[in-house]
Subunit: 434 residues, 2 copies
C-alpha cells in the first residue's frame, strides 16, 4: 500500500529529548528529589489540564495571552497549566483538611506557555518547586534556604551564593521616605540593578520618585555582604530593628550554627518583582556562571490560596530552574561527556553463546555492575562501533577461550586496548574502575 | 479586598496525587527505570503537544473521538499525545540518522484521552514503554521479555507469568485452515478467551468461520504450558516447524540458560488484538491478582514508523501498566502502609536549640539517615501528632539534658515508648532499625 509520508516535525518551541539529554535531566531530577526527600519534603502531582477559570484566577494580562486554552469534548473551558504555583494553591484549598501542617511538598512537572519563542524560550518546560506552607517561622524560612543549598550542592555545579533580602525591610524603608505609594514601581526598578547597573538604576529611580529619595534608595539597595553586617547597615538606614531585620538575624543565627552561613549573603537589591512576596526573598547565582542569572529563586508569601479558600495559608517556597541549569551545563561542557549507565557491553564471538552472555549479565547486575548484552548477529567490530556510539566504556568479549577456561577479555573502548580477567571477581573489579 | 471564592475542583477523569500516592508512584517508576537502565535501555522524552496530523496519522475512528485537539495561538491544529507509541514512531523517523541501532529506549510519561470515565478510566494517565528497534533477532525478543521480568521483580509484586505466543504461527495455522481472510476477526475473538471462556469463544468462532474450523482453532488456542512442550503441540497442528516456532524455540533456549525459563510460558490464545504485531506477542499476569488483567504486554512489529519515513524499522516492545499495578497494590493493601522517607523527626524542647537540631540533621544525613527538623514553636505533643500523621516512625527529642550530656531521647511513634542513645553512632544505629 503506497502512501504519503507525513513529515516528522515537532511544534515550534517544543523539543524531543535524545537519550544523552534525557538521561542527564533524569539524573538531575533524582539528585534534587533526593535532597528534598532527605529533609521531609513529600511529592505531589496535579493534572496537566485544569478548568481555565482556576488557572487564570483574577488573571488576564500576559498569562491569558500565553495560556493554551480550549474547549474539551464536554464543552468545558480548559487550559494547560502554565506554572506549578497556581495548581498548588488550588490543591491546598481542595485538600486542606486532609493534610498535616506545616506541609512540605515538592512538585516537579512540565508546564506550557504559548510564549514568543524568539527569545530562546520554550513553550514546554520543566518546573521544580518546593514549599513549606502553614508555617510562618524563621525555622521554615531557613529550611527552604538550606534545602535549596543542599539541592544545588547535589547537582555539583561548584560554588554558589544565595542572595537574600526581606520585602518588609524595603517596604518600611520606602514608607520612611514617603514614597510608599510608588513601592511597586521602585521594587521593579531595584530588581534590575544586577542587569542595568547602578547608574541606570539611579536615573530610573530619580524619574520615578525624585533625585533625593533615589539617592537614598540607591544606598539601601547597595547593601550587600554577610547577613550580620548587612542587617546592621539596614538598621542604620531604617533607624533601628524592625520585624524584618529581626527575622533576617534569626535566619543568620541558624545559618551560622549549621555551617551554610557562607553560602547565604544579604543583597538588598533582591526584590523579586512579584507582588506576591511579603517576607524574605532570594535568588541564587553560580559563581562560575553569574551570567545565566538566578538558578533558584523564591520567597515568603502571606496567603497562598485566597482565590480558592477562606483559610489563610502563609508559606515560603522556591523554584529551581532545571532547564536553565541544564542548558548552562551543556554550554560549559565541563560535564559534557556523556557516560553510559552500563559499565560494559557483553559481546559473543559466536551467537551460540548468547544464553551464557545473558546469564553472565544477570550475575554482574547482582554485583552492582550493570551491563548490556549485544544481541545481534554482527561482526565484532560492529559491536565495538555500537559501544563507542553509545559511550559504553568497555566491552567484554566472550569467546571459546572464555568458555573453556573462564577467562574474560576486556576491551577499553577509549584506548582500544585489551586486558584480561581470570575470574568473575576480577571482571567485576575491572569493570568498576573509572 | 473581599472576593468570590473559586471552587477548587479538578476536571472529571483527572486526579490530584497526594503525597502517599505520589511517593509510591515515584518509587515504582524508579525501580522500573533502574531495571531498564541496568540493561542498556536509555530514556527519551517527546512533547506532550504535537501536530494533530502526526498523532492521528491514518487515524480516525476511536482515536479521533478521544483525542484532545485544538487550535493553538498560531492557528495550528494541535493535540495532546494519547499514547507513547505514535510519538516514538515520529521520533525515530526524525532522528533515525543520529541514533545507533539497535536502539533500546524507554519512555515514561503522561498521556491524555477524553474517554468515557464511567468505566473507571482516567483521562490522564501514565504510560511506561520499552522497545528495541532496528533489530529482528531472537536475542532482542528475549531481551524484552527478560527486561520486563526484571522490572516486575523489582516491583516486588510476587510471582507472575509472561504468556507468550507468536502471530506468525497463528496466521500460518489460519492459512492452513483456509480462513486467512478472516484472520483479523479470529484473532480478536481468540484474544477474548481468558475473559469469556472456551464455550463462548467457540460459538463466536463457529459463527465467523464455521463449526469445523472453529473446533480446530479452539485446539490451537488451547495450547498452554512450558514453551518446549507447547511448541511441539503447535508444530503437530501446523504439520512441522515454521519460522515462528523456530523463533519460539530459540527464545526458550535463552530462557533456559538464564533461569527465567519458568516465568515464561506459551499461551497460544494470546494474540494482542492489534494488526500492528507480526512476531511474538505476550501478556503478563500476576499469580496473586489474575483478575486485574495483563500488567505488561507487547510484541514484535515489522515496521514502526512507516507513516513518517521510508526506512523500515522493525522492533519489539512492551508497555507496563503502572496505573493498573498501583491501583491493584492499593486494593490488596498489602504494601498499603505508607512509610515516611525520613527516619525521624528532630524535635527541640526549646526552639533556642533549633540551630543545633539543623546541624545534627545534616550530620545524620551524611550517615545515610534522612531526618526532618520540626521548625515550629509548638508543644512537643503537637510535634508528635505531626510525626504520626506523616507516618514518621520515630522522633528524636533534643532537650537540655542532650545538650549537656550528649544523650538522645528516641521516641517510637508506634509504641509511644522512649529509649535513649548515648552517642551519635548509637543514634544512627537506633534510627536504622526497622
Amino acid at each position: 500500500m503506497p502512501q504519503d509520508i507525513i513529515e516528522p516535525r515537532v511544534l515550534k518551541g517544543f523539543r524531543d529529548f535524545l537519550p544523552a539529554q534525557e538521561a542527564k535531566r533524569r539524573d538531575f531530577t533524582r539528585r534534587v528529589e533526593d535532597a528534598f526527600l532527605a529533609r521531609g519534603f513529600v511529592p505531589i502531582d496535579t493534572p496537566a489540564l485544569e478548568y481555565a477559570e482556576i488557572l487564570l484566577g483574577k488573571g488576564g494580562g500576559e498569562t491569558e495571552k500565553q495560556i493554551y486554552r480550549f474547549k474539551d469534548h464536554g464543552d468545558r473551558d480548559v487550559a494547560l497549566r502554565f506554572d506549578l504555583t497556581v495548581p498548588f494553591a488550588r490543591f491546598m484549598a481542595a485538600h486542606y483538611h486532609e493534610l498535616y501542617l506545616p506541609f512540605r511538598r515538592y512538585h516537579i512537572g512540565k508546564v506550557w506557555r504559548g510564549e514568543n519563542t524568539q527569545r530562546g524560550r520554550y513553550r514546554e518546560f520543566c518546573q521544580c518547586d518546593c514549599d513549606i506552607v502553614g508555617a510562618d517561622s524563621p525555622g521554615s524560612d531557613f529550611e527552604i534556604l538550606s534545602s535549596m543549598a543542599a539541592a544545588l550542592e547535589a547537582l555539583g555545579l561548584g560554588a554558589f551564593s544565595i542572595r537574600v533580602s526581606h520585602r518588609g525591610a524595603f517596604n518600611l524603608f520606602l514608607e520612611g521616605l514617603g514614597v510608599k505609594e510608588r513601592s511597586a514601581e521602585v521594587l521593579r526598578i531595584a530588581d534590575k540593578l544586577r542587569k542595568i547597573g547602578p547608574e541606570e538604576t539611579t536615573s530610573l529611580l530619580a524619574a520615578a520618585i525624585g533625585a533625593g529619595p533615589a539617592e537614598r534608595v540607591k544606598s539601601f539597595i547597595g547593601i550587600t555582604g554577610g547577613i550580620g553586617e548587612g542587617v546592621r547597615e539596614m538598621e542604620a538606614l531604617l533607624g533601628g530593628e524592625c520585624p524584618a531585620t529581626a527575622r533576617l538575624k534569626e535566619i543568620e543565627a541558624l545559618a551560622a550554627e549549621t555551617g551554610i552561613g557562607k553560602k547565604i549573603v544579604l543583597d538588598a537589591s533582591i526584590t523579586r518583582g512579584l507582588d506576591y512576596y511579603t517576607g524574605i526573598v532570594f535568588e541564587t547565582y553560580l559563581d562560575a556562571m553569574p551570567g545565566i542569572g538566578s538558578v533558584c529563586s523564591g520567597g515568603r508569601y502571606d496567603d497562598l490560596a485566597s482565590l480558592y479558600t477562606k483559610e489563610r495559608i502563609p508559606g515560603v517556597g522556591a523554584s529551581i530552574g532545571m532547564d536553565r541549569l541544564l542548558a548552562a551545563l551543556e554550554e560549559i561542557g565541563g560535564e559534557g561527556e556523556t557516560k553510559s549507565f552500563v559499565k560494559a557491553l557483553l559481546v559473543c564471538a559466536d551467537l551460540r553463546h548468547l544464553g551464557q552472555a545473558f546469564a553472565l549479565a544477570e550475575r554482574l547486575r547482582g554485583s552492582e555492575t550493570p551491563v548490556e548484552v549485544f544481541t545481534e548477529r554482527k561482526k565484532i567490530q560492529q559491536a565495538f562501533a555500537y559501544a563507542e556510539k553509545k559511550s559504553i566504556s568497555r566491552a567484554v568479549i566472550l569467546d571459546e577461550e572464555y568458555l573453556r577456561a573462564g577467562r574474560y577479555i576486556i576491551r577499553d573502548m577509549r584506548t582500544r586496548e585489551n586486558s584480561e580477567a581470570s575470574d568473575f571477581d576480577g571482571l567485576v573489579a575491572s569493570l568498576g574502575r573509572p
